[in-house]
Amino acid sequence: MNLTVARLTVRGLLGRRRGLLLLAVPALLLVLAVVIRATVGQDESTTVNVLGTLALGTLVPLLGLIAGTGAIGPEIDDGSIIYLLAKPLPRWKIITTKLLVSFGCTVAFGALPTYLAGVILFGDFGGVAVAYGIGALVAGAAYSAIFLLLGVVSRNAVVYGLLYSLVWESVIGGYVSGAKTLSVRQWALAVARKIADPGVVTSAVHLPTAVPLLVVVTLGASALAAVRLSRLTLANEQ
């Protein structure tokens, strides 16, 4: 963790209008939760639906994508990363710091609002709000690491990230159940299932599969990102 790198990353991520944009997404979720609670009332299946599909299925991957790629992609694209790299600073520290900033964003704008939306929708019954909040938390960590890695290795990180979260996790995962084994969303749901009362949350993957995969993917993606950053060349400026 390097405070200067963190400060630069936060300002780059939340500066200008992007901070407001990041704030608008969870705000929408909360407003929706209030409206649903007021019209439909306290309903378990609606809550599970909103938190599972909207919060964990859309909001969190989207935030992970914006924060993860945004924490490093633009700097690599415009070349300003050179000011971070031309320093006697281990590259893994830069990656760890940027990962923490990205993860922090997914917690603040993703996991917390998910928990709050759960409380608004269903109160504190059955551990639903906490379960989805924690699920969003671990998903945020994994998405941040994956998308940060994408941001380091590819200039089209956002496109690939969208393909993964929209096409793989949502569409293909919907038809081919095997695809769900390799889905951050399903791993997070497995964690949520364990926390909530039995039978409330369903997931395609069991906890003993989900936790090791979450850990391996998160750590592996971070380590790979650090390795790739230490071999970053400026050859493409030619």
Binding site: L3, S80, Y83, K87, L234
Partner: protein, 306 residues
């Protein structure tokens, strides 16, 4: 005192050879890296600054390889060609961040000192986005100087600068060179380089074309054959008068252009000769134009004569 040594370095990108078996040593003082665009200057600087591994050969600073060696940045100050920097910061915040990233004991004082060196204190609290090109260049300079490096690498630092900013930067670089730092800057403009550097390394098409004192290189450049197209009131009489002098090596009469194509070897002498001869013979000069003044032709001459 720090020496950069480039030892039999080549770098290729796929099938394209950007740098072809170059060896050079760059010691304290100001060195100019001269060559036309696309000659491989940036590739060389990227390798010297650890942002590109050589495909073969070694790039060392005081005997230690630069690639994948982050500790080398304690010695290196790098002024990249690209303009992008953390634009949302003020000049002061940017230089301070660089000082902090170097892990300096007193980053605040170091940032103040660096900004004072480049005379940017007056605008240090404005955002980088509001800066002119020259101001950005000076802040980049300050960020490269903040840790008092012994090596300063600058990639086309004078690009887009106005004459006054250019003078100022040249003064700065001269001072650093006189301080015993190893200063290397790249440029594709001969006049720029000869104003600043005694020592010049010339790179053309990825090859090391010439190396040494700028006077020697300047002579090479001015004594190369020049082509001129000359029109006058009496072309044949002028041709006869000009060919008598040793600085012309060939004259051809071009009936279509109704002009003389003259090949001359001594640039200075020829430019002085033509009006003198014409006046003495009572010939009126209608046009004198150099034909091959493109930088590439100058450089390619150097390659063949080096």
């Amino acid at each position: 005192m720090t020496t950069i040594s480039i030892d039999r370095v080549s770098r290729w990108f796929g099938n394209v050879v950007a740098v072809n078996d170059i060896s050079m040593r760059i010691g304290p003082g100001v060195t100019g890296l001269l060559g036309p665009n696309g000659a491989g200057k940036s590739t060389l600087i990227h390798m010297m600054s650890g942002f590109l591994p050589p495909s073969s050969g070694r790039v060392d600073i005081d005997g230690v390889p630069v690639w994948k060696n982050q500790q080398a940045y304690r010695q290196i100050g790098l002024v990249p060609e690209r303009e992008a920097m953390y634009d949302f910061l003020t000049g002061h915040e940017f230089v301070l961040a660089n000082a902090e990233l170097h892990g300096l004991a007193d980053p605040g004082a170091a940032a103040r000192r660096a900004l004072a060196t480049v005379e940017m204190e007056y605008a240090q609290d404005r955002r980088v986005t509001t800066y002119s090109k020259g101001m950005k260049q000076r802040v980049k300079m300050a960020s490269a100087l903040v840790h008092d490096p012994s090596v300063l690498l600058l990639d086309e630092p004078f690009n887009g600068m106005d004459p006054r900013q250019r003078m100022h930067l040249m003064g700065l670089l001269r001072r650093f060179g006189a301080d015993g730092r190893t200063v290397l800057f790249s440029s594709h403009i001969l006049e720029e380089v000869e104003q600043l550097a005694r020592h010049i390394e010339v790179v053309v098409a990825g090859r090391h074309a010439a190396s040494g004192d700028f006077l020697k290189i300047r002579r090479l450049m001015t004594s190369r054959p020049h082509q001129y197209l000359v029109r006058s009131s009496d072309n044949r009489a002028l041709a006869a008068a000009l060919i008598a002098d040793a600085c012309t090596t060939g004259i051809e009469f071009d009936p279509r252009e109704d002009a003389l194509r003259i090949q001359a070897v001594d640039f200075y002498r020829f430019t002085e000769l033509v009006p003198r001869v014409a006046r003495a013979a009572g010939i009126r000069l209608l046009g004198v134009s150099p034909q091959d003044e493109s930088l590439e032709s100058v450089f390619s001459y150097l390659v063949t004569s080096a």
